[in-house]
Symmetry: C2
Subunit: 332 residues, 2 copies
């Protein structure tokens, strides 16, 4: 596993007007002597070391930069930065990453912007904000604009967390730890477990549950999978980081409130859209519609019952399928 | 609207061993002079007066009995009965309804057991528990056994409620009111609103949200629909009633932990299964599989983007489609 590096941005102003004297981006720099850059952004509740980066496959000849979203707890986030902006936007992350690549690494272009889920929305936002800079975009289980259905599903976990019985306590504990106080011990707060419960049935697909595919992840029963998900799966995650990421996701829209087709038409990059056929919220339909408005786009639907997480690396078969498909896309 | 009548069951013993000296079933008796009986059970969060009963259409020649599930707040429920059993099962509801029909109304047979969602699971449980008594079953947006996916989705709202910031207060208020104290005023408790939020994106379909079909329900924006749903949609609903119904739903299984195909094979009734093609949790697939094991079954998939609630009466076109399809089924 590579070391985590940090790029510092001085006096960084966010879209909502907030300014940080020092913001940082956490990243991995894999195969740093290669010329062409592939940039992979983390997903919701994603850490650098859990992010699928294709550096042994489709991106093996690239310098692979895996970069953490603001709010993920590794880059600047509510849990590690005082006076962190109250709302984040993908533009903030893309602008910071552009500064990092162009000024920090001296890059003249980005060969591939890639990501899964929120990371895929990052690749889309990269393509629209720096159309001359991005050559290729690989968008996995994601969309150009967060759908109303996706927005509404996220309202469930959000509300379960914010109105959870121990949310005030979890917030206080996060702030104390950030300010140098003691670390909170013990279980994941109930409000975060409730968040995880309200999220859990969306992660995969109805077929995945029917076929008991949690057994392939090493869990004997649904209950065991569920318990692991809400208890171990959220260890180290802080309430405001989850909410900060979630808000950015809900507001995701490469047209920034305008006409989506027009925005898609302005993308210069060659785009590979890879939805999963059984994804319950980032569904193939919208990607297929989006592709029609993009100058150079193709859609490759991941044939899997693993739903959304097919794109995140949880199932080897799907990961290999994507890896091959991305390699093929880049070789064209 | 008919008057609500009550049937009293003395010394009723529930499956979990609890006994009530007096349990009651709330019901509507529509067209009481007709000979053949159609029994329609309420759904989750369903009241008698909101239950689609087809009494002007497919069941116009029937005596239509609309009956409230235990736990719905009209029949015996945690909110109106001290020492209510801690867990309910569909068997409890079916056994009580059978006593009501056979002893209360003197019925020798039930021409149609019908219901939507949990009401559909009731029709299924009726068919397996009293196979000689039920002639036809109409199962709308439902299943013979609650799927793991469905079970897991319900864990979200359940946990949001039980770990909600004001759950203890809402429980206390419910108990005080039940015991003759003052009625709680003001807003729906936050824990119930969080329940509603975590449930909301499941109700319809992704297409429904994309197409902004909440506008057909009279709401100008998604936010307006959402607010109405969690604030007005849950007025009068008490925490333990919701949890009681939800647990019964999660445990729904006409094989009672046994072999589902064997159980389905024992059904004597002619069965009409009507899933909606875009339902996100009671999906067509399981109904199609179930039908293969039932002696006399047909599946008619509701062609609608209204998802689960297509079967509940929220969209007139779907209601008319079902009404015609049920009439056709009964005339065969």
């Amino acid at each position: 596993m590579p070391n985590t590096s940090y790029y510092e941005l001085q006096n960084f102003t966010f879209k909502n007007g907030a300014r940080l004297a020092s913001a940082k981006l956490a990243y991995f720099d894999i195969n740093p002597t290669a010329t062409k850059i592939a940039l992979v952004s983390t997903c919701f509740k994603g850490r650098l070391n859990k992010t699928l980066n294709f550096s042994s496959g489709a991106f093996k000849d690239h310098r692979v930069i895996v970069v953490a979203l603001f709010g993920n707890g590794e880059s600047s986030s509510p849990s590690n930065t005082r006076d962190f902006p109250e709302s984040l936007s993908y533009e903030d992350c893309v602008r910071a990453q552009y500064k990092f690549l162009s000024e920090g690494l001296g890059a003249k272009e980005l060969d591939v912007a890639c990501g899964f889920s929120m990371g895929g929305q990052m690749a889309y936002h990269w393509s629209i904000l720096y159309p001359d800079f991005v050559k290729n975009a690989v968008v996995i289980c994601s969309s150009a604009r967060t759908s109303r259905h996706n927005y509404q599903f996220l309202e469930g976990p959000r509300t379960a967390l914010e109105w959870g019985v121990d949310y005030p306590e979890a917030l206080r504990a996060m702030n104390e730890k950030r300010d140098g106080g003691r670390e909170r011990g013990g279980e994941v707060p109930k409000c975060i477990q409730a968040f995880g419960k309200a999220y859990s049935a969306w992660l995969t697909s109805a077929e995945w549950f029917d076929d008991e595919l949690y057994k392939e992840m090493g869990f004997k029963t649904l209950e065991e999978w569920d318990n692991n998900n809400i208890k171990k799966g959220y260890v180290g995650w802080e309430v405001e980081d989850l909410l900060s990421l979630l808000g950015m996701w809900q507001r995701g829209d490469i047209s920034f409130g305008g006409n989506l087709e027009d925005a898609l038409g302005k993308i210069q990059a060659k785009v590979l859209l890879m939805p999963c056929e059984s994804d319950q919220y980032f569904r193939p339909g919208p990607n297929i519609r989006e592709a029609k408005s993009i100058q150079h786009a193709e859609v490759a639907v991941i044939p899997s019952v693993w739903g959304h997480i097919a794109g995140g690396g949880d199932n080897d078969v799907d990961t290999q399928w994507m890896d091959k498909r991305i390699a093929q896309f880049l070789q064209q």
